[in-house]
Amino acid sequence: MSTTTSAEDKRGAWSPRRRIELSRGTRLLNNEHVIGYLFVAPLILGLLVFTYGPVVAAFGLSFTKGDYISTPKWIGLDNYSALLREDLFWKSLKNTLYYVVGVVPAGMVLSLLLALAMNQKLRGIVVFRTIFFLPTITSSVAISLMWLWIYNPEFGVLNFLLKQFSIKGPAWLSSPTWAMPAVIIMAIWRGLGYNMLIYLAGLQGIPDIYYEAAEIDGAGKFAKFWHITVPLLSPTTFLLLILGMIGAFQVFEYTYVMTGGGPVYSTLTLVLHIYNNAFRNFQMGYASALAYVLFFILLGLTIIQFRLQNRWVHYE
C-alpha cells in the first residue's frame, strides 16, 4: 500500500480518500502542499529575482536608453536598429562565428580520436584521464595568461620551437590575422579533455555484439568504425555539438584577458562587445538589446540543430 507508482499518486492526490485524510483535522503545517512550498520557497524566490525577473527586465531595458543612475528613457526599437547599423556589432558577430567554426568541429574530431585511443584498453588510462582533465578544471584566466606567455612573439616558447624548424612565427596575439587563430588553438586545447570524456562514455555504451556481428560478416576496422561506431555515437556527437556551439558562442574570458578584443577588433567577440557596452560605456539599454540578439541567435541555431537531427542522429 505504501509503494504506489507516481501515476497512481497523481490520481490519488485528489481522490476522495485523500481529501478526507487531508481535511480530517490535519493542521495547516502538516499539509503536504504547504510543506512542499516551504522547501522550494528559496527556489521560487530565486527564480523570480535572479532568473525570470531579469529576463523580463532585460527585455524591457532593450527598448530604453540609460545608464545605471538615471531613469531609463523609452526609445522603442532604436537600439535594435542602431545595432544592425553598427559595424562593430557585425564584426563581433563575424569574429564569434569564426571562433565557433574554428573551435567546435576540430575540437570534436580530435576528442573523438583521443576517445578512440583511450578505449583501446591500454594501461595507465587513469593517468591520461587526469592529465587531459587539467585544462578543464583550470580557470580560463590562468589558461589565458599561460598561453599569453607562450604566444609572446619574441620570447615565447612557441615561436622559439617554430624557429627550430626554420619557420618564422607570426606575432600571434599582436597580429590581426593570427590573433583569433591563436585563441582558437588554445580553446581547442582546453576543451579536449572534457569532450574526450563524453565521447568515451558514449563509446563504452556501444554494445560489443554489434562489432562481433560485423566481424562475422567480414567487416574490417574502418568499416566497423564507419558503419557502427559513428552512427551509434551520433547522439553523443549531437550533444557535444549543441553544448559546444552554445558555449563557444559565449566566449568572453579568453578574449578579455588576452587581447581585450584587439588588435583592430579582430578578437572582439559578441559577449565581449556586450560587456563593453554594458560596463564600459554604461549603455545598459543597448547592451540588453545585444544580449537578446545573442539569445535569439542561440535559440535559432539550437532549433535548427534539433530539426536537423532527424537526418543524421540515430537513436536506438
Binding site: A13, A117, L145, I150, L192, Y194, I198, A287, A291, L294
Partner: protein, 289 residues
C-alpha cells in the same frame, strides 16, 4: 552461435594490425598528454625564474637557479594572501549555498507532493537555457540600487536561492532512493524535514560531493562576477587579481606566472584527491539530457 562468439574475441588482440593500432593509440595519447602538461610546466618554471632569466633566449628549460622570490613578492608586496582568502571565502560560501538550497528543493521535487510541483520543476530546468548575459545587466542594476555593488554579496547570496543544475542532479538521485525508507520514517513520526536531514542527505553523500566540487570550481574560476561587482582591491578574488598583472605597456611575466600557479594549487589538490567525483560531475553536467 554461442560457441563462435566465444572463439572470436581473444586471439584477435595478438595480431600485428592490432598491435600497430595500439601503438598508434599510445603515441597519440602520449603526445597529447605532453602537450597538455607542457604549458603548465612552463608556467610553473617561469614563475621560478628571475625576471631577467625569463627572457633568456634560447629559453631556459629548467630554471637554475630556481628561486622562490616571485612567490615571496606576491605574498608580501602584493596582497596575494588576501586574494586567496577572498577566493576561498567566496567559493566556500557559494558552495554551501548551492548544496543546501538545491538539496532542499530537490527533496521536495522528489518526495513531497504539492500542487504545481512538476510545472515548477520544468520552469526550473528551463532556467538552465538562459544565457547569463541577459540576466547580468538587470541584476547589476538591482545590485546598484540596493548598494551591493563593491561587495562580495552578489557573488555569494544567489547560491542560497537554488541552482537549477544542482536541483536537477539531486532530484534524479533522490528519486532512486526507495520509497520504503521514506514511509518507514513517516511511520516513526518523522517530518519531511527530518527525513531530508537524517536520511536523504546522508545517503546522497557522493552526489552532494560531486555537486559541491562543481559549484566550488565554478565559483573559484569565475571572472565575470568579480569583474563587474568588485572595485575595492581588498575584495578581489584570484581570477580578478590575476588580470591586473597585465599592464598596458609592460607585463611582469614572472610575477604573473607565480600568481597563476598559486591560483591553480587549491583546485588542483582538490581535483587530485577527489578525481572520480569531479569526472563524474563534469560528465553529468554534459549528459543532463
Amino acid at each position: 552461435m554461442a560457441m563462435s562468439s566465444v572463439q572470436l574475441s581473444p586471439p584477435r588482440s595478438r595480431s600485428v594490425g592490432s598491435l600497430l593500432l595500439m601503438g598508434l593509440a599510445y603515441l597519440l595519447l602520449v603526445l597529447t598528454a605532453v602537450s597538455m602538461i607542457f604549458p603548465f610546466y612552463w608556467m610553473a618554471a617561469t614563475s621560478l625564474k628571475t625576471e631577467a632569466r625569463v627572457f633568456a633566449f634560447p629559453p631556459e628549460w629548467i630554471p637554475s637557479p630556481a628561486i622562490l622570490d616571485n612567490y615571496i613578492y606576491i605574498f608580501t608586496e602584493l596582497p596575494f594572501g588576501l586574494y586567496v582568502y577572498n577566493s576561498l571565502k567566496v567559493s566556500m560560501l557559494w558552495t554551501l549555498g548551492v548544496v543546501l538550497s538545491s538539496s532542499l528543493a530537490a527533496y521536495a521535487f522528489a518526495r513531497i507532493r504539492f500542487r504545481g510541483r512538476d510545472a515548477l520543476f520544468m520552469i526550473t530546468l528551463a532556467a538552465l537555457m538562459i544565457p547569463g548575459q541577459i540576466t547580468m545587466i538587470p541584476l547589476y542594476v538591482v545590485m546598484t540600487r540596493i548598494g551591493w555593488v563593491d561587495t562580495q554579496l552578489p557573488l555569494i547570496v544567489p547560491a542560497y536561492f537554488g541552482s537549477a543544475f544542482g536541483i536537477f542532479l539531486l532530484r534524479q538521485y533522490f528519486m532512486t532512493i526507495p520509497q520504503e525508507l521514506n514511509d518507514a520514517a513517516k511511520i516513526d513520526g518523522c517530518s519531511h524535514f527530518g527525513i531530508y536531514w537524517r536520511i536523504m542527505l546522508p545517503l546522497a553523500k557522493a552526489v552532494l560531493a560531486t555537486l559541491a566540487l562543481l559549484a566550488f570550481m565554478g565559483s573559484w574560476n569565475d571572472l565575470l562576477g568579480p569583474i563587474i561587482y568588485l572595485y575595492d582591491g581588498d575584495l578581489f578574488t584570484l581570477p580578478l587579481a590575476l588580470t591586473r598583472f597585465r599592464g598596458q605597456y609592460y607585463t611582469q611575466w614572472a610575477y604573473m606566472m607565480s600568481g597563476a600557479t598559486v591560483s591553480l594549487v587549491p583546485i588542483l589538490l582538490v581535483f587530485l584527491f577527489t578525481q572520480q567525483y569531479f569526472v563524474r560531475g563534469v560528465v553529468l553536467s554534459g549528459l543532463k539530457g
